[in-house]
Symmetry: C2
Subunit: 322 residues, 2 copies
């Protein structure tokens, strides 16, 4: 990448990331201009840092671009909004190959096309850093609706989820458990030793596909509260319960084959929402009830949740182990 | 910082960054909601990375926050827009002191209060990284005006500048020339050895004060093109000239005491604008003319500019030298 200028690299990226339908003025000036027809814009930012958030032994450029887009699109969807545009700040080591950067751009575009059609990169920034870092900001439009916050859950509401629970955590366990050497250094994934179900779990971890399009549907269906499940269902439900001054009681029978992992595993990027009616919008399934606030914010089958609050081995990352 | 959770640190930051006048929903949910009364939002992102963009020996937490805000506010202003909100993605080494983070938050707020009253941080993200990195996204409102791009300069227009030229470069020269040891490692600035003018130059480099409020004024006054001067006046004027299919001829007599430094020095964050009339809005001074496109994009006193295109010693940064 050494012989290419910042402008050259940016042009290569932007030639691959498509054009946002809402872009009034796209990349290439001091700033982009994005339509916000409802007179308000939803905005969120989330960063992936090499080490704590991903490892290059496991994550390709394509998957990194995809995930950086997906986790931000999920946050926009969780407000009940439709994503319109991404801004991407990329800090890369000098020796990064242009083919890696192009794959990252392709991943950004494909995640937008698959999860939030019409949304695309409208601006970016490129800097040199010893640590590969992708900071994405996502913008969205509420289409005239009020934002769905995490504080509106009311006792009696049905608690519902759209998207997968626990799969991303299972994928992380596959990577940490089976694709590291004795020192803990990540090793490339060897497809030959994968077991049934591993591929789906790895995909959930490396290329999450949150139900972005269901965010606006949930808002239209009258969701009283909604949030992106990124740190584990129990932990995030506790935040929703605290913000709403209520408690949330999960039915373990509704949490799939491994309720413990569904409750504790991080990085699902499912949508957690509450609805006043038992009739849920397409894509959502009931997993519990909002109840009057009690001593415990989160319960399972009527008893206070006492499982792990979230498992995040990346936090224990040792820089020396690559 | 080790014993504080991500949520604790975010709360500490957000308790200091104030509230944006345009915030419909502020920090604390999956995303913020910001008013965009004109039905469009201006959006830009710019990142400061330890090493290439700043050194902790020279830059305090406060100055880092200030500069991270200022460089983004300048990009919004350069579109003729008023900044409304910032999102801040902060990646920090584990050992970063909470007092440093609080100073950074204070710097973000003070830059907004001084340069773009009403604008404030509405959202953020916190991650761990071995390299201190501040990625800011700024949003702005056009208040019903069309954006002022870099492509509208027309032959006959007056070329004008608001803000300082060359001071940030002079400040960088002071730091690199006088506050490094024999190995090139940055040393703290010793006020006792500063010469007249050094303080202003250091302030321009470490705490730039771009004329953010003049961006909308220039738009109202009919600016045909405008941009933030971040990579050196000559280099940025060349970009404006290329985008406008015209050439720009500077009058060296209008470029201050050191025209060479005014033309080549980076990080000024002045506003470069072109106007059809000789009567310029307050704060702008004439520095040249737009002329028909010729072989050279940029001229000085009628002759093709052949000085250095921009001086950026940070690009030559050696990680080992801290």
């Amino acid at each position: 990448m050494g012989e290419l200028s910042e402008g050259d690299i940016l042009r290569r990226i932007l030639s691959r990331t498509g054009r946002a339908a809402a872009a009034i003025l796209g990349p290439g000036d001091d700033a982009a201009v994005v339509a916000a027809p409802s007179g308000a814009v939803v905005a969120t930012t989330d960063t992936l840092v090499h080490g704590p958030d991903f490892r290059l032994a496991w994550t390709s450029g394509h998957d990194l671009g995809w995930k950086a887009a997906a986790v931000n699109l999920a946050d926009v969807a969780a407000m009940g909004a439709r994503p319109t545009a991404l801004l991407v700040a990329l800090a890369m080591p000098e020796g990064t190959r242009i083919s890696f950067v192009e794959a990252l751009a392709d991943g950004l575009r494909e995640a937008c096309d698959a999860l939030a059609p019409g949304c695309a990169v409208v601006g970016g920034d490129l800097t040199v850093s010893d640590v590969l870092t992708v900071a994405v900001t996502a913008l969205g439009d509420l289409e005239g609706r009020a934002p769905v916050t995490r504080s509106g859950a009311r006792p009696g509401d049905v608690v519902a989820v759209a998207g997968e629970l626990g799969h991303a955590d299972a994928g992380l366990a596959v990577l940490f458990g089976r694709f590291r050497d004795a020192d803990g250094t990540p090793l490339p994934v060897d497809d030959a030793v994968l077991r049934p179900g591993d591929l789906a779990a790895l995909a959930a971890q490396l290329r999450p596909a949150p139900p972005v399009g269901l965010g606006p549907f949930a808002a239209l269906a009258g969701a009283t509260a909604m949030m992106d499940v990124s740190d584990g269902l129990a932990l995030d439900a506790g935040r929703m319960a605290d913000a709403s001054r209520a408690s949330i009681d999960f039915a373990s029978a509704a949490l799939g084959e491994d309720p413990a992992r569904a409750l504790a595993g991080g990085e699902d990027h499912a949508l957690l929402a509450t609805f006043p009616d038992a009739e849920l919008p397409t894509g959502f399934r009931a997993v519990g009830r909002v109840i009057e606030r009690g001593p415990a914010a989160v319960l399972v089958d009527g008893a206070p949740y006492e499982g792990r609050a979230g498992w995040d081995p990346y936090r224990d990352w040792d820089a020396a182990a690559g």
